[in-house]
């Protein structure tokens, strides 16, 4: 709350600084009877930035460092024999209790005398920290303001400076996304490496049995962590899904882009796109309750044993789910093929479908392949439908009418219930996640290469 007030105050001061800079630049211009390099607004903005940015940077750095420093000081002040007698985890718990007491909240079982003392100390440190932060920020804000305001002169290229700040701000925003990605990958990698200290990569990637047991059965009762049944299950479900989605989606796209009258296109396109908006859990129980039994009955009629929850059920429903991905991406790409190409083929005496098959689709192919690969990575990462409808049976077999399990389902299974992140049973989720990530990344890279290699210049 106090942080929020601090930032609000800073913004208020920045607004003032803007105004001061603005009026100052006008005054300078009037005094010296010259044209300023930039319009007054830019001087105002620059003064405000000088006032606000350093102070804000300090605030971020401070908020990051100060709590750690305070914890260190408090720990130092605790009786040394007490600290020595505790494990790291107990110490963390105790520090958490102390900070709760310092904020005036109650803790379970009441605070011990040592904790009370430490909490007192912490509260004092925190008050001091807050006051000093405010003081330093105020000095920096006012200092920046005064410095920048003094600096205003006709030669000062405020407009260019502001431009540079904007460039940096935009770059910083993109850096957030990039670093987040890198961070996620690194943390996955770290945990996966921990997993591979229990199970060798060869055992994991080449193992044909998946039987992790439970982490509660003890570390020596390690199960078998073979990836192949899960990978195969994922592939089977995804392939079935693509076999459904690619033909239907592509033909839908061709009809919508080339044949459908405008009114039908306007009505049908949004309806198809609604398919993509249905929550996957709804698809999941749709598969479980409607499609599964239907397929099972169908199988009975023609004498094939089809399980209610099977690769076929999950793949079929997942295929329906990704139809709109294929159709709307392909539709956009087909529509982008220039009319001149169509006219060229029609002018040579090609029929409409010949034109589409022989000229439009080849021209649109790179984009369409890209759409397929995007749909594929969507299918591989899909979780909810397979959790409900694939049957969770991590066994290596080639029968699509049998239940299977996929990588995503297994991650869900391994991370629900009691978790112990020191056991391979939980850590395997990271190895699986990393595998999934590498597969989808690979597909996206291939999609990019395909698109780039065969991209046609229409102009």
């Amino acid at each position: 709350m106090s942080n929020l007030a601090l930032i609000a105050t800073l913004l208020l001061i920045m607004a003032m600084a803007y105004h001061l800079g603005l009026t100052r630049s006008r005054a300078v211009a009037a005094e010296q009877d010259v044209r300023m390099h930039s319009r007054p607004g830019y001087y105002g903005a620059l003064v405000a930035l000088w006032c606000g940015l350093p102070a804000f940077g300090l605030f971020l750095l401070w908020s990051f460092l100060a709590p750690q420093l305070i914890e260190m000081l408090v720990t130092q002040q605790l009786p040394t024999e007490l600290v020595a007698s505790m494990s790291d985890r107990e110490l963390t718990t105790m520090l958490r209790r102390i900070s709760a007491v310092a904020e005036g909240r109650n803790v379970a079982g009441g605070a011990t005398p040592e904790e009370l003392l430490a909490a007192n100390h912490m509260a004092r440190l925190q008050t001091f920290e807050l006051y000093s932060l405010v003081a330093v920020m105020a000095v920096m804000a006012v200092g920046g303001l005064v410095y920048a305001r003094r600096h205003i002169s006709p030669q000062w290229r405020a407009r260019n400076h502001v431009e540079r700040v904007i460039t940096w701000a935009l770059a910083a925003s993109s850096a957030v996304a990039v670093f987040t990605t890198v961070g996620i990958v690194l943390s996955m990698l770290g945990e996966a490496l921990k997993f591979f200290s229990f199970i060798s990569p060869a055992e994991f990637f080449l193992g044909t049995t998946w039987n992790p047991r439970f982490s509660t059965s003890g570390a020596d009762a390690q199960g078998e962590f073979g990836l192949l049944p899960l990978l195969w299950g994922t592939m089977m479900v995804s392939i079935i899904a693509l076999l459904v989605a690619i033909p239907v989606g592509l033909m839908t796209a061709i009809y919508m882009a080339e044949y459908a009258p405008p009114w039908l296109r306007n009505v049908a396109k949004p309806i198809i796109e609604v398919l993509a908006g249905i929550p996957t859990i709804v698809y999941g129980f749709f598969a479980l309750i409607v499609i599964g039994p239907f397929l099972s009955n169908l199988g009975d009629m023609i004498g094939i044993n089809i399980r209610t929850t099977s690769a076929l059920t999950a793949g079929l429903v997942m295929g329906i789910m990704i139809i709109p991905f294929v159709s709307s991406l392909s539709d956009d790409i087909i529509t982008q093929v220039p009319k001149s190409l169509r006219d060229g083929a029609l002018g040579l005496g090609a029929t409409k479908s010949e034109t589409i098959r022989q000229v439009v689709l080849p021209a649109a192919l790179p984009g369409i392949v890209g759409a397929f690969l995007l749909a594929a990575s969507r299918a591989i990462g899909e979780t909810m439908i397979v959790v409900l409808a694939a049957g969770n049976n991590p066994v290596l077999h080639g029968n699509p009418f049998e239940a299977v399990s996929t990588i995503t389902v297994t991650i869900v299974n391994q991370l629900t219930g009691d978790m112990d992140f020191a056991s391979p049973q939980s850590l395997v989720a990271f190895a699986l996640g990393l595998t999934l990530f590498v597969i989808t990344l690979g597909l996206n890279v291939i999609a990019l290469i395909v698109v780039r290699k065969y991209r046609q210049q229409y102009e």
């Binding site: 005496g349 090609a350 000229v359």
Partner: protein, 279 residues
């Protein structure tokens, strides 16, 4: 067949009126004929009742200010306007005395007989060879690979492109220069051996040198084909056309020998246009 320049068209900058020698060719057999052709886009009328005969093996140029309906009329001649939903054509157009808008007329075959070359070069994103071979394959003009090779070679020769591309037939047609692309498109049209070739401002996206080549090509092609072209460039009409038709606001104002149109127009509007008073 011959790629060497005929003396008459060797210079691209022939002055207005030098089309004289071209008019001497004897041309009297009517190839296509339009009777009271009207075109509507939705409710707007783009063409108001045009009567026009097109003679065999002539080069007929359509000139006129933008939006006068010359391209629209050109596209009626092989029913390319069918691809525009809101476009409606009335009246009668015949090819060799057969109505091309007759209900039982196969529009696909019509377009093989009346080929079209567009304003902007539009090679398919395929190899040079495949670009030419596309039409013949479509219509089953070649039984064997060797026959197809022959068609490709002779079409490219006719378009004066063979020597430039014979070593890279497998490379994409889109990799050629603009002028080469346009000649590729002409070769592609020639490959299906049409009777009539329509050209919709074939040089407007080309530089003067490429334009000169295409003009020379048109002249050579007129030995074997009937050519109808739209052009914005009056000098071009004067250079290559036997007859010229002047369109204005959806009307065919005047059609006569190119010489006559540019030296002694009958209509005041034609006179104003060719002297640069408007347009």
């Amino acid at each position: 067949m011959n790629t060497s320049a005929e003396p008459m068209t060797a210079s691209p900058l022939v002055s207005v009126g030098s089309g004289e020698s071209r008019t001497s060719k004897a041309k009297d057999k009517v190839k296509m004929s339009a009777e009271d052709v009207k075109v509507f886009y939705g409710n707007a009328q783009a063409i108001n009742g045009i009567h026009l005969d097109i003679y065999e093996n002539e080069v007929l140029a359509f000139i006129g200010p933008s939006g006068c309906g010359k391209s629209t009329f050109l596209r009626c001649l092989n029913r390319m306007n069918d691809t525009i939903d809101i476009c409606r054509v009335e009246g009668k157009i015949t090819l060799d005395k057969n109505d091309i808008y007759a209900p039982d007329r196969d529009v696909v075959l019509l377009r093989a007989q009346v080929g079209i070359v567009f304003q902007k070069p539009n090679p398919f994103p395929k190899s040079i060879y495949e670009n030419i071979a596309y039409g013949p394959r479509l219509h089953g003009l070649a039984r064997r690979k060797a026959e197809l090779d022959d068609i490709v070679e002779s079409s490219l020769r006719r378009a004066g492109l063979w020597d430039e591309v014979k070593d890279r037939l497998d490379q994409p047609g889109t990799g050629l220069s603009g002028g080469q692309q346009q000649r590729l498109c002409i070769a592609r049209t020639v490959a299906v051996s049409p009777d009539v070739i329509l050209m919709d401002e074939p040089c407007s996206a080309l530089d003067p040198i490429a334009t000169a080549k295409v003009e020379q090509l048109i002249d050579e092609l007129s030995e074997s084909y009937t050519i109808v072209m739209v052009t914005h460039n009056m000098q071009q009409a004067a250079r290559v056309a036997d007859r010229t038709a002047f369109f204005h606001l959806g009307d065919l104002v005047e059609v006569d020998s190119t010489d006559q149109i540019f030296t002694n127009p009958k209509d005041q509007r034609t006179h104003d246009y060719i002297t640069g008073r408007f347009g």
